[in-house]
């Protein structure tokens, strides 16, 4: 069960209080009525599904009710940061990113090489 920091409540709370809300920074086109079928499919269906650093939204649904953004490593499930909705995509601190990538490299083939000596 994840431990998630709500940037509004400024507290670490259990995943049970939150609902995942998909990829972050997917902007609804202002002129949505005028976009092409391809553009619509991209907006509505296509997601990055990153292996590694991902930006996503959560809602503190059983808490303050606010939607917010998070940067998480989808390999280790470690949160690198959370920040309020409406803020632009936040760069992940370099040290954190390196840690995430190192972790990704070391855990990536976990299932096949678990227990491997290095």
């Amino acid at each position: 069960m994840l431990l998630i920091h709500c940037p509004y409540c400024e507290e670490d709370r259990s995943e049970l209080e939150f609902r995942w809300a998909g990829e972050a920074h997917v902007v609804r086109p202002e002129n949505i009525a005028a976009i092409s079928d391809e553009e619509f499919a991209e907006f509505f269906f296509l997601r990055n599904n990153e292996k590694g650093l991902t930006y996503e939204r959560w809602r503190h649904i059983h808490g303050c009710g606010r939607f917010f953004n998070a940067a998480r490593d989808t390999v280790s499930d470690r949160f690198l940061m959370t920040y309020k909705a409406g803020l632009p995509k936040q760069p992940v601190p370099v040290a954190e990113k390196f840690a995430a990538i190192a972790e990704e490299k070391s855990v990536e083939t976990w299932e096949q090489t678990e227990g491997d000596a290095r």
Partner: protein, 991 residues
């Protein structure tokens, strides 16, 4: 040697820590035995000389007790208190004896001593690893009909419980700073150190008392005391500290993400007469900042021919039974080892008066200190030798010994054989936390390397063997400043993994690697020969490590044999995955309170009890219990519903609509917001008026619907479907917070705040009029689709003039607390006027007679407003709303989409099955082309015939066409019609 007479002939006076005066009686396979309090089932039976406890999985070989702990693969028993409290697959080495326990062996027929299944042992040459993949294929049907049932019956171990579990289970959530798993020397020391920092500590151990290895290791002293005594004293000290919790009989079974761990505490399974209030087990869910892993290590067996006979046991287990339980495993004990630790077991037994036949050591050079001690005690040691065979059908009676590489054999009589191939660090929790291991080549073991979470390993689980180093490591792990000294008599050396000398050649012997699953060294070699080069393939092909002990003893041996066969070093062969739980966990514990009513609490309306009193039958709609119909005495559902339908249209009916979702939308931009969230236009709706709204998502399919009333310029009362309320609110919040944050709007769920009493029918106005103050109910002042704030019986109310029946209708919203009282008064008056109560079934029929759709029944997430015949509800003028673009996609505007229409059976008495499929040509061959399906279908008492709604391809252009609904036993002809079956002109709604 003298034995306590009633608690077993193998009990040694003066040995062990149990109190002879405190006894418990139990039965095993019908025979009665006396145990001492503190005995495990294993120690109690051994005290009586009982070694044969079970049969193995595949070959049904006789098996005894191999270990003294949770890693036990053999001694799995059926333990019961009474018929409903029966537990299969209980490890005899963990279960404490309680007075009155009824214990039985498993997987044998007709008896443990004479088991028919043992014929498999003779047929073993045919049952090599994976043999079942190569046969049982002819004839084709025979697998499922003949072979599989036989295999299923012979597999499995214990027998499932057959009754509901009368015990209850508890649950606790806890936060702490440091969780320490394991309370041996390392764990206790770490706890003392961590506790000194003032942090909140939880110390956990799976045994009834703390101490870990100190249970058997009688020669270690700590802080000048006997080790075990120090451990108990330390536990007392720790328990007295306000910042420390000590949990015994508690297993850390899972180490999950972000410092979350699962613990199971066994509360009453060892108690003869548990209090009724006490839970059987308790689940602890702990979130901690840091974990100290002090989980120790597990001794391995030696892999050699016939190494599985009852009486063959790990050296540490024998030492544990002696030093803790005061029980010897035999009178003439052999030792086969590759590690110094087994010597200490032999020394302890010898000093207790047990004869040691000989110590067979596979090493040419055993540790010098233990060798010297053996000489001093007069114990024979055969170094550079192997045990190459054993004999004894139900209990070992001899071991055959040969010098390594030599064919001269000699038989040595023994009544027990204790073995040790060395120690495997318990890295299960570390691996579950996703840490990375490294291989310690010198000691042939995996130890923690890279940590994935905030944890640290201390002691044997970290490969730290030396006592002084272990204590230092534990103190450092705890982060405090304490001083502690320890002393042990021997530093151990040695150890091996893989098959010992006596394990070959393949054609002749069974040298067991995994006892429970009967996996032998040759099975692993066979897997490699067959191309299984990944350790995961080998595991799955042989089932090595897949038994209920999950490979605690077998994994390293299997790996080493595979590595040798493959000619690749162990690290390159890899280790199979460690998965939670560390030891099996009862479902009931994981579930704890979440059963029965608490499994998924039912939502009930404020009028539920009154409806129940009126005889309502209820149906489940999402989490809600909704009144389904109100049968009078002697009525079945059909007659009840027909009466309700007639009465509503003839007089009136009262209906509980409280489950409808309700959302208060408030703010200066409320109308603008609804304009964006619904397909309809809302700015044109005047205060005091209602409008039916359709909501789509961006994809343009109907997501929800409901009536929205405008109470003021800046205030809307939105209703949603019963099941849709939470997701609609979430959907609205999502857009409000992230896409349209510039809009000044507040959203509040009011579903639970309002009780809603619908009164529908020609007499509806007359029924409610006397109760209403502050609103003129005349048609002119309050026509269809009006809303007003007024009082009802003096209670502040929101009154809607809406109809889901096609009759004059009102929905009285009052605060939930007043719901029952208002309902009661309205119903009393309605009843006196000849009206009825009606439930959801009648509601469904009446709305179907009028062709009103139900989202989720007539639509299914693939239906557009136009498909449903509600194209008019999609604003043509708005330049934006959620769904505006999705609706224009090629497939959503193509010809021939499925559309909602009415259908009438040619035979008016025929009621179609909801879900019936519709075809144009019922005589076409299968697979047929289906045009759509029946979404709603009812008997309409008001029309004296059946009616139905269907989604049909190109439906609206098929009016009058004859189509067919082919059923299993007949084909039903139907005609496509419009959806309004009753009062087509719609005059009744305006009264």
């Amino acid at each position: 040697m003298s034995a306590s007479s009633n608690s077993g002939a193998f009990r040694i006076k003066g040995a062990g820590r149990l109190t002879p005066a405190r006894t418990a009686r139990f039965t095993f396979d019908g025979n009665s035995y006396t145990a001492l309090e503190g005995d495990t089932v294993a120690s109690a039976l051994l005290a009586h000389g009982v070694h044969l406890l079970g049969r193995s999985f595949k070959y049904h070989r006789p098996r005894g007790i191999l270990t003294a702990g949770p890693e036990e693969p053999n001694a799995l028993l059926d333990v019961s208190r009474d018929a409903a409290r029966r537990q299969p697959n209980v490890r005899a080495t963990v279960q404490e004896v309680f007075d009155g326990a009824k214990i039985a062996s498993q997987n044998r027929w007709p008896s443990l001593k004479y088991d028919i299944g043992a014929v498999n042992d003779l047929l073993a040459p045919f049952f090599a690893a994976g043999f079942y993949y190569k046969t049982f294929m002819w004839p084709k049907e025979a697998w499922a009909k003949i072979y599989e049932p036989i295999i299923r019956r012979s597999a499995g171990l214990g027998v499932s419980p057959t009754e509901d579990d009368p015990d209850h289970y508890a649950s606790r959530y806890v936060h702490c700073d440091v969780l320490i798993a394991g309370a041996g020397v390392a764990g206790l020391t770490a706890a003392l150190s961590a506790a000194a920092t003032g942090k909140k500590i939880i110390l956990v151990d799976e045994q009834p008392e703390v101490g870990g290895a100190l249970h058997y290791d009688a020669s270690t002293t700590i802080d000048g005391q006997n080790g075990y005594d120090w451990a108990q004293a330390t536990a007392v000290k720790l328990k007295a500290m306000p910042n420390v919790t000590v949990l015994t009989r508690t297993t850390v079974f899972g180490y999950y993400n972000h410092g979350f761990l699962g613990l199971v505490e066994r509360v009453t399974d060892h108690v003869a007469k548990p209090s009724k209030d006490a839970p059987r087990e308790r689940l602890w869910q702990v979130r901690t900042s840091k974990v100290i892993l002090a989980t120790g290590s597990i001794e391995r067996h030696m892999v050699f021919a016939n190494n599985d006979r009852p009486g063959i046991m790990l050296a540490s287990a024998a030492r544990n039974f002696l030093n803790h339980h005061g029980v010897t495993v035999g009178h003439n004990v052999g030792v086969y080892t590759a590690h110094d630790s087994a010597y200490e077991a032999a020394f302890d037994l010898k000093r207790a008066g047990v004869s040691i036949a000989t110590i067979v050591d596979s090493r040419d050079k055993p540790g010098e200190a233990v060798l010297a001690e053996a000489r001093k005690l007069g114990i024979d040691v055969l170094s550079g030798h192997a045990v190459v065979d054993t004999s004894g059908r139900l209990r070992i009676n001899s071991m055959t010994v040969a010098r390594n590489g030599n064919f001269d054999r000699r038989k040595i009589k023994v009544d027990a054989l204790i073995v040790s191939a060395g120690w495997t660090p318990s890295v299960h929790l570390f691996s579950q936390s996703r840490g990375k291991l490294k291989f310690d080549e010198a000691n042939q073991r995996f130890v923690p390397d890279v940590y994935a979470q905030n944890s640290v390993s201390a002691g044997a689980c970290n490969g730290t063997d030396n006592l002084a180093e272990l204590i230092d490591e534990a103190i450092t792990a705890g982060g405090g400043r304490i001083a502690l000294s320890g002393e042990n008599r021997f530093d151990w050396t040695g150890g091996m993994i893989g098959a010992a000398e006596g394990a070959g050649p393949d054609h002749a012997v069974k040298a067991f690697v995994d006892f429970q699953h009967d996996v032998t060294a040759k099975d692993i070699r066979l897997a490699v020969r067959e191309g299984m080069h990944s350790i995961e393939h080998i595991k799955r092909f042989t089932t090595n490590g897949m038994a209920s002990d999950q490979g605690k003893l077998s994994n390293m041996h299997g790996l080493a044999i595979a590595s040798e066969m493959l000619g690749r070093p162990i690290p390159q062969v890899g280790l199979t995955t460690f998965r939670a739980p560390y030891t099996p966990v009862t479902y009931g514990t994981l579930i704890n309170h979440s059963r029965g009513e608490l499994f998924d609490p039912a939502r009930k309306t404020p009028m539920h009890a009154l409806e129940e009193a009126e005889g309502a039958e209820f149906e489940d709609v999402g989490n809600w219990k909704r009144a389904w119909y109100f049968p009078k005495r002697g009525e079945d559902m059909h007659t009840s519903v027909s009466r309700e339908c007639k009465t509503v249209r003839d007089v009136a009916g009262v209906f509980d609509a409280s489950t409808l979702g309700k959302i208060e939308v408030v703010g200066p931009d409320a109308a603008a917001f609804l304009n964006l969230l619904y397909t309809n236009a809302w700015d044109t709706l005047k205060p005091g008026k209602c409008r039916y709204g359709i909501m789509t998502r961006e994809d343009g399919f109907i997501y929800d619907d409901g009536v929205v009333g405008r109470l003021a310029e800046d205030r809307f009362h939105v209703t949603t479907t019963t099941g849709g309320a939470p997701r609609v609110l979430n959907h609205m919040e999502d857009y409000l917070q992230t896409e349209f944050p510039h809009l000044k709007v507040w959203l509040t769920s009011t579903t639970e705040q309002w009780a809603v009493i619908a009164v529908q029918g020609p007499q509806a106005r007359e029924i409610i009029e006397p109760f209403v103050d502050g609103q003129d109910l005349s048609n002119e002042a309050f026509p269809h689709m009006s809303v007003a704030e007024c009082t009802v019986m003096g209670v502040p109310a929101r009154l809607f003039r809406v109809s889901f029946t096609g009759e004059v209708g009102y929905e009285v919203n009052v605060p939930a607390d007043y719901g029952a009282a208002v309902w009661k008064a309205i119903w009393e008056r309605a009843q006196s006027m000849g009206a009825c109560l009606y439930g959801t079934e009648t509601m469904h029929i009446l709305r179907a007679e009028k062709g009103y759709l139900i989202v989720g029944q007539d639509t299914d997430g693939t239906v557009t407003p136009d498909d449903a015949g509600y194209g008019w509800a999609v604003s043509k003028k708005k330049t934006d709303f959620v769904g505006i673009r999705g609706l224009k996609r090629p497939d959503l505007v193509r010809e021939g989409r499925k559309q909602l229409v009415g259908i009438l059976t040619k035979d008016p008495k025929e009621v179609l099955e909801e879900g019936g499929q519709i075809v144009a040509d019922p005589n076409q061959p299968k697979p047929m082309t289906m045009l759509g399906h029946v979404t709603s279908s009812y008997w309409s008492e008001n029309l004296g015939r059946s009616i139905a709604i269907a989604l049909v391809a190109g439906g609206r252009s098929r009016m009058g066409e004859t189509l067919y609904v082919p059923m299993a036993d007949k084909t039903i002809a139907v005609e496509v019609t419009d959806m309004v079956f009753f009062d087509k002109e719609g005059g009744r709604i305006n009264g």
